[in-house]
Amino acid sequence: MMHSLSFLLQVANPQLPPTMGMFVLMGLVKAGAAFGIYMLCVAYTTLAERRVAAWIQDRLGPNRVGPEGFLQPIADGIKNFMKEEALPDGASKALFIMAPAIAFVPAMLTWAVIPFASPLPVPGVGLVDMVVADLPVGFLFTLAISSLGVYGITIAGWSSNNKYALLGGLRASAQMISYEIAMGMSTVCVLLLAGNVNLNEVVAQQGAQGWNVLLLTLAFFMFAVAALAETNRVPFDLPEAESELIAGYHAEYSSMRYSMFPLAEYANVITSSSLMVTLFFGGWDIPFTTWDNLPPWTITKTLLTMALYVSKVMFFVFFFIWLRWTVPRFRYDQLMSLGWKVLLPMALVYITVVASLLLGLDAAGVARTGWAFRGAMLGMNVVFVVLVFWVLDRGRLISPAYSRVERERLARMRAVADRGDLLSGKGA
């Protein structure tokens, strides 16, 4: 008896990976728990958005349902379920019903590969990775799935059989495809540094080398801008653009089906924040110490790293909300030229420089975890930040409609305009 027990304990050494059966079981547990927590976070992000919006506008926001409005998301959910669902006559019914789910699912799927704490040793089971699915292609998976999100919005816009909705859907597809490229390009530098697309490896690399935001600030900046565009939030909320397209792609939706779109947006916000944290802010890494990155793994480590990860994500969720209530919306031409004429070339140049630097440093035999390597990367980073934020971000307008007008053409247009005024009697 004792012998068999000790044998079992030996198999289930908490510092070693679990057996196949336990792995599947823990996978199910993790998926269930992550789903519940994620949905709860999405619900409470709506409350956070409303209250932060109110505070920024010198108001108080919803504070009536429960203490400080804490039960507001539940009240909203009940309200949305109780409301009448309208199905437009001209709508393509199957797609119309499917679209909200298609919009919502990718955001959640993306989150499944993001590690949120250091591995947890479970007695009798083994070492459980604190990520729902530790895919070897982790990062590529996030890129692939997050680009599926555009289908939900485009299908919603098209199947509504409504002009505004269709315009919103078209804008969404153009915008998300454009910024998908900038987003992918900006993360290439991170992958160059990490040498691996597994997100756990990316976190480990940052634990050893320092957070990527310090070494690749510009990549972070581009990723943040692209992520804003991907989540369709202000300043890139052109697909909904309530002042011009009523509500854009979800103009025809009502009740819980409508509610799925805002929920998908908040799910995307959380996922984008998690990606930013994982790729640029060290994921669950605790800065200034390597204690948390090395075995033996303990429950304390897991809890601490998870707390840090959650607070980092919460900061970025707050940042998204904060930015939304600060900046106005881009015009469509500005949006397109920002994506294609600014972010994409910038990302390409940046990748070239970073890749050359890495190649040079590796050829010179500089150790990647050493201070010389970090110093070189930091120097390159400072040069880029000064160049882009102080030199290039001055005296420029992102607008093809403006910049394409040459001096002679402008004079001609002004002459025509004046003559028009004269003809209509206004110039006199």
Partner: protein, 165 residues
């Protein structure tokens, strides 16, 4: 009208995106942490309403509890919304009194003419606004209800000189 093209001269020299965004973020953060919120938490907190606020009517009474109204008919005459219904009567002592005195608060435009015209300082508009009802017919206030109101009345006149003498 001829179609014209207006070319706006934009201040390109001062333009910036990233720095301007950070400036904006700083501004909105200042408001975020600023404890000065303009919201009044309505059922718990209320605005102080002015001494000349014209709201729900109130009929003042004499010491013995009857309405001061002498049914002279000035208020239904002056009422621009025609919301006062008055049926006068005469009691055993030969005093006129209102048999029916009703004000439709839904029709009323709260101009305060009734208070101004009243020679007996009987009918008043009040400093009161919470007069919601569940039924439309409940907005017609009869004499009993008008005399039962207790809220302060509008000070269209100087309280030290109520008769304007």
């Amino acid at each position: 009208m001829a179609i014209t093209t207006r070319v706006v001269a934009r201040p390109t020299g001062e333009a910036s995106y990233v720095r301007a965004t950070f400036k904006g973020l700083a501004l909105s953060f200042k408001h975020l942490v600023d404890p000065h919120k303009v919201t009044v938490q309505y059922p718990e907190e209320k605005w102080d309403i002015g001494p000349r606020w014209r709201g729900t009517h109130r009929m003042l009474t004499t010491e013995d509890g009857t309405a001061k109204c002498v049914a002279c008919g000035l208020c239904p005459t002056v009422c621009p919304a025609n919301c006062i219904k008055l049926v006068p009567g005469v009691d055993a002592q030969g005093n006129r009194y209102p048999v029916v005195f009703e004000i439709d608060e839904f029709r009323c435009i709260f101009c305060g003419y009734c208070q101004e015209v009243c020679p007996e300082e009987a009918i008043h508009v009040g400093r009161h606004y919470e007069n919601a009802e569940m039924d439309r017919k409940d907005f017609v206030y009869d004499l009993a209800r008008l005399t039962a109101q207790t809220h302060p009345v509008c000070e269209m006149w100087d309280p030290a000189d109520p008769k304007g003498e």
